[in-house]
């Protein structure tokens, strides 16, 4: 019997699990991320592989240890497109027995990729499943983004987090389109009623950078949560929904981002590098107090963006903090830098 698993990515496991269960396989969530996950991943990864490779490999090993036998991985972008083959090779060399499915190589193959997981499913039913889970994903990201941008303003500590938890629980249980719309109406209503207070010094920081580092809180040491605790409003554009949407008219969108990054960039920098530059400039021009640029150590497209970001920071006189993560990055180190960044932003705002 197939027991499917997938890599961790924030709370998206609610969506991934839903999708796979709707397709008709048993699902085992990868065990929650811990230091051991990273250690396992590093032990069996090439040294210069980027840290998302190591985290996801660790997820797979831990899930395989617990009995999963079908790994579902995606791919695309910079090195990520090649993860699947090399991770599969490493895991098989370690002696694990499993099936490996790489999905989302492109929209054309999406239906056939998912169908190969459960060949008994007919295409129409599969299309309904995809539509339902896509809807759940876009709603998840909408609610998540709203919470993220307002959580630093909450009057009663924990009010947003409580709502978020119950929303996730209900989302996992929703199995119909109508249920999704009902849940959305309800949740957005509740969100409006949470009391918020915008402080006199309203610090706003944008987060840009590599997809995994931005979306997986364990890997960035719960940066957004820390910033909310410091009373900083956080905005980021990278979500699974935006990534999927970008796949449509990709070239056109990249040209638009290059245009937005003028005159610092004239060409697409690869993967999300262009967007990191474009969105940083956009937010700075909108009056944001600072930008945090997240990436794994060695991430080529984001290193590409750094020359332009250095220039932008210098010209616009807005601090851009570059955080680079590998397995040896200390949590305290990041915490210290964040505190220093916060202090600097406050000083500049109060000047």
């Amino acid at each position: 019997m197939k027991i499917a698993t997938f890599p961790h990515m924030g709370d998206y496991h609610v969506i991934f699990r839903g999708l796979l269960e709707d397709i008709g396989v048993r699902v085992m969530n990868p065990p929650p991320m811990t230091k051991r996950t990273l250690e396992l991943g590093c032990k069996h990864s090439p040294e210069a592989a980027c840290v998302p490779f190591k985290y996801t490999l660790g997820n797979f090993i831990e899930a395989l240890e617990k009995g999963a036998n079908l790994i579902v991985q995606a791919g695309g972008g910079c090195r990520f497109g090649f993860y699947a083959e090399i991770q599969e090779t490493i895991l098989r060399d370690l002696g694990y027995q499993f099936e490996f499915k790489r999905i989302f190589q492109g929209f054309g193959s999406m239906i056939s990729d998912l169908k190969s997981i459960n060949p008994n499913m007919n295409s129409r039913e599969l299309a309904r499943v995809i539509a339902l889970n896509y809807l759940k994903l876009t709603m998840f990201d909408r609610v998540d983004s709203l919470i993220r941008e307002n959580i630093s303003y909450e009057v009663e500590k924990g009010s947003y987090e409580k709502l978020r938890k119950s929303f996730l629980r209900e989302l996992a249980r929703t199995k119909t389109m109508r249920g999704v719309f009902r849940l959305r109406r309800k949740t957005l209503g509740f969100l409006k009623h949470i009391r918020t207070r915008i402080p006199d010094t309203d610090l706003k920081v944008g987060i840009v950078g590599e997809l995994y580092m931005v979306m997986e809180p364990f890997s960035n040491y719960f940066l957004e949560r820390e910033m909310a605790r410091m009373g900083i409003k956080v905005k980021r554009f990278v979500t699974l929904s935006t990534i999927l949407h970008e796949a449509f008219g990709y070239r056109k969108k990249m040209r638009r981002y290059v245009h937005m990054g003028h005159p610092y960039i004239k060409h697409h920098l690869g993967a999300h590098g262009t967007e990191s530059v474009a969105k940083s400039l956009y937010l700075i021009n909108k009056g944001y107090d600072g930008i945090i640029h997240l990436k794994p150590f060695g991430c080529m497209p984001e290193i590409n963006a750094m020359s332009a970001l250095h220039r932008i920071s210098k010209d616009k006189k807005v601090p851009i903090m570059h955080l680079s993560f590998d397995e040896q990055t200390s949590e305290t180190g990041i915490g210290t830098r964040l505190e220093a960044f916060h202090d600097m932003l406050r000083m500049r705002a109060n000047r």
Partner: protein, 318 residues
């Protein structure tokens, strides 16, 4: 006459005959930076983002040599040279990195996607002439020059003489009298750089080891052979490297040295796959160059590797 600066790094090693002929045919003076030296290394390390691979740091060191000495810098944006494949994404950002690192440089930056170099005959070269017919004719000559240079290299040393890398006397052809022959495989901008591959090649020659490189094979063959090792790999240069490994093993090479710089992203993954697949078939050494120059360390590793190959052969014949 306009002077065009070409940094002796990255795309130079793959495309110089083409670049040189194109701009010379249009009446420009082509100026190349010198072979990698201490000043270039130091400047590169200073100018580049710290996490960049050594190859890119050297590139910026070479650009620095040319800034202020030439009218224009030739720094193309290269995305892919084979359909549905890609180069390392750093090749895409070279013009923008140069733009943001150096003040007031003028850059010729054609966009090369899916091996289409024709952007060169458009706006990027309008400052030389607006006559597209003239530029297309120069383009054709340049393509022919490149092809000729590659053919030259396959049985002699022509290509790399043009690049000024080796003397006319020395040959990187396999010396039939060498007892041990090793394939030195890696990106051309590493294997033929004075600071990286040339040092290794000199040491191997001193040990009387014959050297074979990727460029001694038809690159289409090496590229095609990659499919025997990997189904998903999409980096063109990496496919050529691992395909060459496969082909040399089939031809009975005594050992393979993979040459890479730290922290090369595509190499990290593609060489991991190649080494896992091939290590039972031939002795393999993975040499990772970073900016720290440790001559003794390199000597030890190469001597040990060559000794091991000798010992294994003796054991087999015994």
């Amino acid at each position: 006459m306009q002077s065009i600066g070409v940094p002796r790094a990255l795309f130079y090693y793959k495309y110089f005959p083409f670049i040189n002929e194109f701009f010379a045919a249009l009446g420009c003076e082509v100026i190349v930076s010198p072979k990698t030296n201490k000043a270039i290394i130091d400047n590169g390390l200073r100018l580049a983002v710290d996490e960049s691979c050594l190859s890119l740091k050297l590139f910026l060191g070479h650009v620095n040599e040319l800034v202020g000495q030439v009218d224009y810098l030739y720094v193309p944006m290269m995305e892919s040279v084979v359909n549905d494949e890609a180069l390392c994404t750093r090749f895409m950002a070279l013009p923008d990195i140069v733009r943001n690192t150096f003040e007031g440089v003028r850059i010729i930056e054609p966009e090369i996607v899916d091996n289409n170099f024709l952007d060169l005959v458009r706006g990027e070269t309008a400052f030389i002439t607006r006559n597209v017919i003239k530029k297309k004719s120069a383009f054709k000559r340049a393509v022919a020059a490149q092809r000729f240079a590659l053919e030259q290299f396959l049985d002699a040393t022509g290509y790399f003489e043009i690049l000024g890398i080796i003397d006319n006397n020395r040959s990187t052809r396999e010396d039939k009298s060498c007892d041990i022959n090793i394939a030195l495989l890696g990106h051309a901008y590493n294997v033929y750089d004075a600071f990286i591959g040339e040092i290794v090649a000199n040491k191997l020659r001193a040990m009387n080891v014959g050297i074979k490189t990727l460029e001694m094979l038809p690159t289409e063959d090496a590229h095609a052979a990659a499919l025997l090792l990997s189904r998903d790999m999409y980096w063109t240069y990496n496919k050529e490297i691992i395909g060459a490994a496969r082909l040399y093993i089939d031809r009975g090479i005594d050992g393979i040295i993979f040459l890479t710089t730290f922290p090369c992203g595509p190499d990290a993954l593609s060489l991991e796959l190649a080494i896992r697949t091939l290590k039972n078939q031939v002795p393999i050494l993975n040499l990772v160059f970073d900016e720290l120059e440790s001559d003794t360390g390199l000597d030890t590793r190469l001597e040990t590797f060559v000794d091991m190959i000798s010992l294994q052969r003796e054991a087999r014949t015994a």
